[in-house]
């Protein structure tokens, strides 16, 4: 599944990131890399963007970008 499908409160591990472009470069610069673990905090009232916690900080990103991040659920 991809990050945009994860529910608030769930923790995931990044499996892979799709594509090879500027968007991906930017996401990776912010620390979204394979094997990184993160938690979904929630979605904005209108359903987009979403807020996540990774590497000791919080980040918001749009669903379209989150859809490029393949993740597995952590227990």
């Amino acid at each position: 599944m991809t990050l945009n499908e994860i529910k608030p409160g769930q923790r995931v591990r990044i499996e892979s990131l799709l594509g090879d472009d500027v968007v991906l470069q930017r996401l990776m610069e912010m620390g979204l890399l394979e094997d990184e673990e993160l938690e979904v905090i929630g979605f904005a009232p209108m359903g987009d963007p979403m807020e996540i916690r990774l590497r000791d900080y919080r980040l918001s990103l749009r669903r379209t970008e989150a859809a490029r991040i393949r993740v597995t659920l952590l227990p």
Binding site: Q25, R26, M30, G31, D48, R55, R62
Partner: protein, 746 residues
């Protein structure tokens, strides 16, 4: 070591690391804001003294990475590499690192380290890290990275002395930071390209050339070495992709991998992350219901502060300007010099400084919202809505502020990092109905759509409609611009949600002060110059009008004074606790009588003024463009008033007043507006469709010099204000045309 010039220290760091607070603490009041040609970001400069060693310090824009994708981002790289012609290469770079978010902050630090300058790490917000249960072994971290690490709490001034000492020591010993190794295969390709440039260019730039597709290095080096280099670069990228690399991922994997390895035994994380204040506050502030409600309240306060709270200050400025022009006008005899001074320069200066209260208020609030961490939440809440227009959440505040005044609104678009989004926001901001349109709206609505004739709901509905026109057209226009002129791949919206914290009063005041000062310095003179030009166009040719008017006015001085006294006496009687109806009636009769005797004389003067303006350069222009405004239902007088309102929309009211024989007056004065409305109705030039056509025109046109000047200043190019003027005038014309033609059918 003998320095030929004062050594320079540059400050770099991620946003939200307290970089500005640290810089302000070190530089104190002794700092100035600077700009570079072609770049819209501002850099701050100041001075620092360690013992008897002086340093120049420069604060570079906050950034997450030194992978330049715009001229603005390239600035930081250029300065550190010593490629900026106006800036010496820094002798030391201080990298501000948020201790509570070490890994991501060190990413930028590893890039800085590769630029070959001594680095000092300012490990800020150690108190926040401690509160989150993070334990950082500073000495070990320093050893691992090969650079001095100074723990700090910049907001409380803790650690500043140690940082200063470390800067001076690094300047002497020039420690070299350790940095990660890139894959061999990648470095081979970089070395080949470097050889092609004759080893002229630093390794860092050539790495950027391979890594950043469509990046700034590509543009820069491509221009310098020609298409051969670009071909070689493309081939190198292809080989790397064939070898199994993801170009976009090479750098991040190398850096984060290395950072994780070297810091892993410098940080101890708690087994269970403590629930921070930020988590609790965020639960409320990004909540579906509460978050939205609080957002609306905050935005209401932002709007009120510039719309209402700034108003008394603006009134004081206006009163002050009126007083100055009256006093100076009294000292001089009538003639071009007096008119230039009073009508041109003093009024022009007043028109510039009248913006200051709104700018200072708005920027104080924005600084407050940014410093406490709410700004990111506001953008988070609004992003979905704004993204439909091709913008992002950060465009909301600039557009909202533009409903009070587009000048501070456009300036506040600086909070938008993405260049295209920022430009789109700036270009559509003037479409939002600002407070300068209000006098025009209320003049025409109360004159031609009175409640007595059309019902209580019509004037309000038209007001509402004019405001909605801007609110609907602005996002549509932004959408169009993003599809055409400002086309490009959708920018990545990844935004850090910083921790909430107490905002620093010093930072807020500093920002408000700087923004006001920058406005005066960068826009003031140009606005003033245009004001004087329009004054001249309305004044010349002046013939004998001014002398004649002065002659006619002289005998009126005394009766006018008398009328004033009578009016204030009448007001005193009316306001008295015990009202004496008989006395009021008697006084009223006296006032009416005094008015009555003045009327023919005033009319003579007003007619003369009207004739004078009609034959002025601007009046002739009005007559000349009449064929163009005919389809809008306008005669030349309305056309002329529309041109004359180029300095500012509200000038329309006074100009209409003069040409329609009501004399001069203040657009904000209701009584004056009523009498202008009266004479507009009697003039025959206006019908309801004409009034509506003028209203729609003013809702959409860009008759505001200050807005156009500030667009030039903020975008750095004249083509953007010219574009704004052209597209808005076209929109306004079409809107007015349709309104008049449709309105005439009924």
């Amino acid at each position: 070591m003998v320095a030929l010039r004062t050594p320079t220290v540059a400050f770099v760091g991620n946003p939200n690391t307290g970089k500005t607070t640290l810089f302000n603490a070190l530089a104190g009041m002794n700092q100035r804001v600077g700009n570079y040609a072609g770049v819209t970001v501002e850099t701050k400069k100041g001075k620092l003294r360690v013992g008897d060693l002086p340093f120049d310090i420069i604060d570079l824009p906050g950034t997450y990475s030194l992978a330049p994708r715009s001229p603005d981002e390239m600035l930081a790289v250029d300065v550190i590499l010593g490629h900026n012609p106006t800036e010496p290469r820094p002798d030391v770079v201080v990298t501000i690192v948020d201790a509570s978010n070490l890994e991501r902050n060190l990413y930028l630090m590893t890039q800085v380290a590769e630029l070959g300058v001594p680095v000092v790490i300012a490990l800020n917000m150690v108190d926040v890290a401690t509160a989150q249960g993070l334990k950082i072994d500073v000495d070990r971290l320093s050893q691992q990275l090969g650079v001095p690490v100074v723990p700090l709490q910049a907001n409380r001034g803790i650690g500043l002395e140690a940082l200063k000492t470390a800067i001076a020591a690094a300047f002497e010993s020039r420690p070299s930071a350790r940095s990660p190794a890139f894959p061999e295969r990648f470095d081979e390709e970089v070395a080949k390209l470097q050889a092609f440039t004759g080893s002229e260019e630093p390794t860092y730039l050539l790495r950027r050339l391979v890594l950043d597709v469509d990046g700034y290095a590509e543009k820069r080096l491509g221009d310098k070495y020609g298409p051969d280099l670009i071909d070689k670069m493309t081939a190198a990228r292809q080989r790397l992709v064939q070898a199994g690399f993801t170009l976009a991922g090479i750098e991040a994997r190398v850096r984060y991998g290395w950072i994780h390895k070297v810091t892993t035994d410098c940080i101890q994380r708690p087994a269970q992350r403590p629930v921070a204040w930020t988590d609790r506050i965020d639960k409320v502030l990004t909540h579906r219901v509460w978050g939205t409600l609080i957002f609306l309240v905050v935005m209401f306060l932002v709007f009120e502060s510039i719309f209402v709270a700034a108003a008394p200050f603006m009134d004081w400025i206006k009163a002050g300007v009126a007083w100055v022009s009256e006093s100076i006008g009294g000292l001089l005899s009538p003639g071009p010099l007096r008119s230039l001074l009073v009508e041109g320069i003093i009024k022009g200066v007043g028109a510039v400084i009248v913006f200051l209260p709104q700018i200072v208020f708005l920027f104080a609030i924005i600084a407050f919202l940014e410093d406490c961490g709410y700004m990111a939440r506001a953008a988070f809440l609004m992003d979905r809505l704004m993204s439909r227009a091709g913008l992002n959440g950060k465009s909301f505040i600039p557009l909202l502020s533009s409903m009070a005044c587009a000048v501070p609104g456009i300036m506040s678009a600086r909070v938008i990092e993405n260049r295209r989004d920022r430009l789109a926001t700036i270009l559509v901001a003037p479409l939002m109905s600002c407070s300068a349109r209000l006098p025009v709206y209320s003049l025409l609505i109360s004159a031609f759509l009175p409640i007595a004739v059309y019902g209580w709901w019509v004037p309000g509905l038209v007001f509402f409609g004019l405001y909605m026109l801007g609110i609907i057209v602005a996002p549509l226009m932004a959408f169009l611009l993003k599809q055409t002129l400002l086309r490009g791949e959708t920018p990545v919206f990844v935004m850090e949600m910083p921790l909430y914290k107490m905002p620093s009063l010093a930072t807020v005041l500093r920002r408000a002060f700087d923004s006001g000062w920058m406005f005066l310095k960068r826009a003031g003179t140009l606005i003033l110059a245009t004001m004087i030009l329009v004054w001249a166009a309305l004044y010349f040719p002046s013939g004998n009008y001014e002398e004649e008017i002065a002659q006619l006015e002289q005998p009126l001085e005394q009766p006018r004074e008398q009328l004033k006294t009578l009016k204030s006496e009448l007001k005193a009687l009316q306001d008295a606790d015990a009202k004496d109806a008989a006395a009021i009636a008697a006084k009223q009769a006296l006032v009416d009588e005094a008015k009555e005797t003045l009327v023919p004389h005033e009319k003579q003067i007003n007619d003369l003024r009207s004739q004078w303006k009609a034959q002025s350069v601007l009046g002739r222009m009005g007559q000349w463009i009449e064929p163009a405004v005919k389809p809008l239902g306008w005669d030349w007088r309305i056309g002329m008033a529309a041109i004359a309102s180029f300095p500012a929309r509200e000038v329309m009211v006074g100009t209409l007043g003069i040409i329609f024989g009501e004399g001069e007056g203040d657009a904000g004065d209701e009584e004056y507006r009523d009498s202008v409305g009266q004479s507009l109705r009697n003039s025959g030039a206006f019908t309801v469709p004409v009034a509506m056509s003028v209203l729609v025109f003013f809702a959409l046109c860009s008759q505001c010099v200050s807005t156009l000047v500030i667009i030039k200043r903020e975008t750095g190019a004249w083509r953007w204000p010219i574009f704004t003027f052209v597209y808005m005038t076209a929109l306004a014309y079409i809107g007015a045309f349709v309104t008049y033609q449709v309105g005439s059918l009924f």
